[in-house]
């Protein structure tokens, strides 16, 4: 019996479907840290589970096994009783899990609705900010337009001033001014002539109102008109 056993596959496929091989393919470099993380997390979960199993075995071994030799029937009955206990414990556990899950569900639903409202208000904020931005842009445009207009007005004024200045220096005005002066001189001479005529006649001009007016009018100094 003991010699018969041949262990055929002692060198059997350690066919690693694990993460080792695909990672070593050159070019899968970007996926490596994530795969390693996944592997580590998985190994961690495994180790936890295995530790739990070892612990439970240790606890089980501390239980005293019944030493007396019981009949097979009694052993069967005992085994079935223990199995029933296990089933009941499992059912109670499942019920507790269900109860907890329903509470969790409520929390999740609340969280979801809160998230929705947060997103909505964020959307509204964004819209208002956009509107504000539009208004500011318009204000800027208006400012620029008014700047331009004022600039135009200024240039127009300067042009007018220049035109006036240039006009004054033109020759036409000079000749007109000269003519005006000559006319005034002639008129002054005529005034003096008339004055002297009336005075030379030795008539009493103060008495006649018409003559008085004429003399006074002749006194008017025409050079003031310039």
């Amino acid at each position: 019996m003991e010699t018969q056993s041949e262990e055929q596959a002692a060198a059997e496929a350690a066919d690693s479907r694990g993460e080792g091989e695909p990672l070593q393919v050159a070019g899968a470099q970007a996926a490596r840290p994530e795969d390693r993380m996944a592997l580590l997390l998985r190994v961690r979960a495994q180790t936890k589970q295995q530790l739990l199993e070892y612990k439970s075995m240790v606890d089980a071994n501390e239980e005293k096994t019944p030493e007396q030799i019981m009949q097979e029937k009694q052993i069967e009955v005992k085994i079935e009783e223990l199995e029933k206990e296990i089933e009941e414990a499992k059912i109670a556990f499942e019920m507790k899990k269900l109860a907890l899950d329903s509470v969790l569900m409520d929390n999740m639903k609340q969280i979801l609705s809160l998230n929705k409202s947060v997103m909505k208000s964020q959307q509204e904020t964004r819209d208002l900010e956009d509107k504000l931005l539009d208004v500011r842009k318009k204000r800027l445009q208006l400012k620029q337009a008014s700047e331009r207009k004022l600039l135009e007005i200024q240039t127009e004024k300067n042009k007018q001033k220049d035109d006036l200045g240039s006009m004054e220096n033109s020759g036409k005005i000079k000749t007109i001014q000269q003519n005006l002066e000559m006319e005034i001189q002639i008129t002054t001479v005529i005034q003096h002539v008339f004055q002297n005529l009336i005075l030379g006649s030795k008539a009493n001009w103060a008495e006649d109102s018409a003559l008085k007016e004429t003399v006074l009018q002749l006194e008017k100094n025409l050079t003031m008109i310039q």
Partner: protein
Amino acid sequence: MSVLRPLDKLPGLNTATILLVGTEDVLLQQLAEAMLKEDCTSELKVHLAKSLPLPSNVNRPRIDLIVFVVNLHSKHSLRNVEESLHHVDAAFFLGKVSFLATGAGRESHCSIHRNTVMKLAHTYRSPLLFCDLEIEDFRATMAQRLVRMLQICAGHVPSVSALNLLSLLQNSENPSLEDL
């Protein structure tokens, strides 16, 4: 070591080892290959043996699941399995042992009655699986099942232990046995 104990060695990182015990070399080899083709996140190691006890000079990792393969066509395989069962520690039967009966498809060739195997499995409180290992599709399905069971027995699936799995699997079997 003449008796296999389940927890006398520390587990390897991300490794799960299964031991297939049976007299049908070809079938075991094919099943092993089918299992290794399965997509699994842990490293799988498959050991084959004709019968227990295993030679103690070989350095082997901790065995997570033992599957005893019984061919319903030959009484010899049943006897072989029964004798090998003596070399397995009682602690293994808490979910880390499973029986696999093959050859049930060809009723005329069966020399062992189904109930014999079912009684055997019931005595040892272990799950009994039926599968025709000669047919490739069934073999592939069974390989998938065994890989999942192996993962759980090796502790790679959080929150499910071998014992848990055992009680889950037993519920469907026991009612039928009460009728026997």
